[in-house]
Symmetry: C2
């Protein structure tokens, strides 16, 4: 406790204490990098001067619409410039940003709009009918709809609402920003994808986001002027805070409406993007692209991947193509990624392909903005770093949410004992790296043995015909539960259940071998997560 004997006159004043906020990054970028390219979508390009001016107009216009500090402003927009700008303009108006998943059904959007209490919702024209339906179903005050048309993608304005361009025209380019005076003020309200039950509203603060951006620069080994492609949706943990981060580096955000192999290769070749985040399915998309979708490039692309460990086969192929993949892990409650499988330069470089893939499958170690991430047992005692003892991943640090909106009980439960309880089961390897064995609720208990669905999925992913897979518990009279696999095949592959079971058996213990393998297209949530609860229902009925 470093309080000097005499601290007279050493208090916080305006000169030496500024609330941490990602808004500072864009303010500084407009001053330091005014002419550098900041934002690109197709033929449209913004310098930092222009980006800052449009954000200021946007903030001023929100105030003109009646948005007051502390109000919620929602968006239902793909990864387009209006969505990127909302990340700065909504907080610059003192308001809280509630990005809503564009793939949700009207009922859930109604729930979110009512629960969050948005005053305004900005909606891409493609999703307007869905949102209009959601708004019509509200029995709480309806938010004002602002339409964001995208004529270059075939979505011209409908004429039914105030448009985004008309909104911008309502605000001045020199509108002063309402900066937080306390860095604990709320910045964003992000609803979880809710694999079961109603989504919960995760409240993020300015401080956490600022620190997330600074820590990500270190972890991703970024230097000045990176070019980032927005693949992870901005409605998914604010794209892991990447759009808030880029201005601190004077970099450029390249927007992409639809994620296709062609769009990714084009952005690499034409816009020189060097960084993006994406689920393993994006890696598959790149590896399996058709020849006419591919483009030549000669720079290294850095990918953060999360959601599931990257499959060894995919890793091998994508690295040959010039991509480096780093596995990261986090949750909406932690602003996105908070652990990273940090590569140990000079020590791991000489390892063979399988050894590298095995290392890269681990979720890794705490990123710099987190104080402590570890695995604990039910008594919150750290598990031994033996690679086998399972416990729950617990985390403490500045990129943990404030809590769940209007749900103090769930907040208390999630943050009890000084740590955020992730609900993910993991082991600690002897070198301290974490590896997830399963979601607590996805573990399969067969004959009294804990069986990790993730481990079986990892084995299945080695099979050359498997594109995606999920393993769940199937009730069994003899064993209690047995593993049941659902497999999405690669184009052209035909599934042979017995051969697939034999393949897994050659790699894993008998009790870990699925008793059934079903070949289907896997059901996914709106953020692309596989809906295991639906598969469990299917498995029960088999």
């Amino acid at each position: 406790m470093g309080w000097l004997n005499d601290e007279t006159g050493l208090d916080r004043v305006a000169a030496n204490h500024v609330a941490l906020t990602p808004l500072s990054h864009l303010n500084r970028a407009a001053a330091v990098f005014p002419d550098r390219e900041a934002l690109v979508y197709g033929e449209r390009r913004w310098s930092y001067r222009d980006y800052h001016a449009d954000v200021s107009r946007f903030a001023g216009a929100l105030a003109a619409l009646g948005v007051a500090p502390g109000d919620v402003v929602a968006t239902v927009i793909p990864n387009l410039p209006a969505q990127a700008m909302a990340h700065f303009a909504v907080p610059a108006a003192g308001a809280v940003l509630n990005t809503i998943n564009t793939r949700l059904e009207p009922d859930t959007v109604s729930f979110i709009l009512a629960h969050g209490g948005a005053k305004v919702v900005l909606v891409d024209t493609q999703f307007l009918p869905m949102v209009e339906q959601a708004v019509a179903a509200l029995d709480t005050p309806a938010p004002r709809i602002v339409e964001v048309p995208d004529p270059q993608a075939g979505y011209p304005e409908t004429g039914r609402h105030l448009t985004f361009d008309a909104l911008l025209a309502m605000g001045a380019a020199d509108t002063p920003w309402i900066m937080p005076t306390d860095e604990w003020e709320s910045l964003a309200l992000n609803y979880t994808s809710g694999t079961t039950g109603r989504p919960k509203g995760v409240v993020c603060h300015h401080r956490g986001s600022y620190l997330m951006t600074m820590g990500t620069v270190v972890s991703w080994r970024m230097t000045l002027y990176p070019r980032l492609l927005t693949i992870v949706p901005l409605f998914h943990c604010n794209s892991w805070n990447h759009v808030w981060m880029i201005p601190v580096l004077g970099g450029c955000v390249v927007c992409c409406r639809d994620i296709t192999a062609k769009a990714i290769y084009d952005a690499i070749a034409d816009e020189q993007v060097g960084f993006f985040g994406g689920a393993p399915i994006v890696l598959n998309m790149i590896v399996n692209a058709r020849p006419e979708e591919r483009r030549a490039f000669d720079h290294k692309i850095e990918i953060f991947t999360a959601g599931a460990p990257p499959a060894a086969v995919t890793l091998g192929k994508i690295e040959e193509l010039g991509f480096n993949v780093t596995h990261v892990y986090g949750l909406t409650e932690t602003y996105g990624h908070v652990t990273e499988c940090t590569w140990n330069d000079g020590v791991w470089d000489g390892l063979d392909h399988d050894a590298r893939a095995t290392l890269k499958a681990r979720q890794g170690v705490a990123m710099p903005m987190m104080e402590h991430i570890t695995v604990m047992d039910e008594n919150m005692v750290e598990t031994p770093a033996d690679g086998t003892t399972q416990g729950e991943i617990m985390m403490r640090g500045n990129s943990v949410m404030k809590g769940y909106y209007r749900n103090p009980e769930a907040t208390r439960e999630a943050l009890r004992g000084g740590y955020f309880h992730s609900g993910d089961l993991a082991v600690r390897h002897p070198d301290g790296y974490l590896q997830i064995v399963d979601r607590a609720k996805d573990i399969i208990i067969s004959g009294g043995e804990n069986v990790s669905s993730v481990e079986i999925e990892g084995a299945l992913m080695h099979h050359p015909d498997v594109s995606l897979c999920a393993v769940v518990a199937k009730p069994d009279d003899k064993w209690g539960e047995v593993p049941c696999a659902f497999v999405e095949l690669k184009p052209g592959a035909t599934g042979d259940e017995a051969a697939m079971i034999a393949f897994v058996k050659s790699r894993l213990a008998g009790f870990k071998t699925p008793k059934r393998v079903i070949f289907i297209e896997l059901p996914k949530t709106s953020t692309g997560k596989i809906q295991k609860f639906a598969l469990r229902e299917t498995a029960k009925a088999l």
Copy 2:
């Protein structure tokens, strides 16, 4: 002001709020990079596991000596491992680190020990007689002396005091660290070099240092695992916080007792150092090294230089040798550098050598941890960005000191109006980059015209015989003041006053031409700053 309508249950708790401190970097490094090399001095090498263990022993031992939270612990040590460890161990004991310049005279050290009230002072054997004399002269309670011998440099222990190794043996490797609970707690007490009058004690806080380290990573374009040579003394703004920064990157600090051209080239070739900070005199040392002092290397070295703009000739030569120089600027009151002449990649790359040198002479733009750095007139109105209107550099941000210890009046004066007043006069160029024209007190007023001593010095530095120079005001009956130049020549050069005056006259207006040029070895402060006050006295007597 982003307070949601309902903030129930969304308060700071242990899981989501951790006080920012550079101590976290070393804690994390010990967990994430335990086996990577952290610290090197000659043949001695520490991994992060060992570094953390020795720091813990050190912290435990300080407590055993009676150091309590809030106490001051001083050091008088060159850039050696014990000094690096003190940067973590002293705050880990809850105490405040007071690094004292090894080049000071006993009288000033007595003043600092009395004013800061150090309980313990760790002293390198070389400086022991000086510190013993300073302690003997105290009429306040004397600090306990701990001797830090350096036998490999020819300074074995004297036997008169507890030694550093014996101190470490008093503490346990698993001593728990006293982490700050409030990031505003004091971390360091750094006395200014005091070109006139008694030094002032600048108090730094944990938050400012943490943010300084994260911002420096961005500005210096550092990625994981850098190797840093400690040239800027750790008693000078804690070496610009670099030793606190390195663990967040899993990098290595290479210690160097005496800064010589040979030591620098050896560290580059043998230890693969890639980064260091240093005054322009260090650049000269590298450029002017004798052939037998030079070593071959094939990696790029990044240098931060501050104190004076790097001379064009030096820049040209050092860049050919494989070094990239970035000009930075800051003060003890700002933890070190807070502006940087950020290179505008892709835009400035094609410029010729002179144009590059002219750009690099500017102090530049705010680093990421600073909110706003600009130039203002005496009414605190921002000056126009016209490259000519002069004003004072003012800065606001999280890497500004808490204030001056036991001097609330000076603190209030320095931080008045929401900005730290630097005392440096500068212009803003049209692209927003700042350039210092002079210290406020160094400006020469000749015939009513403001003459920048820095501008005349810049002209002199173009002369091939000039190694270092300083220009001050000389009282003059007709003009009030006239410029008077003091020049330190390169080895072998002979000074010709008339020719030197003619050289400057060919580059600058007549009233900016020095009326006298004196060839001497320049007097310098303990941190290597030229003592202009002494030169002014000399000029008066001419």
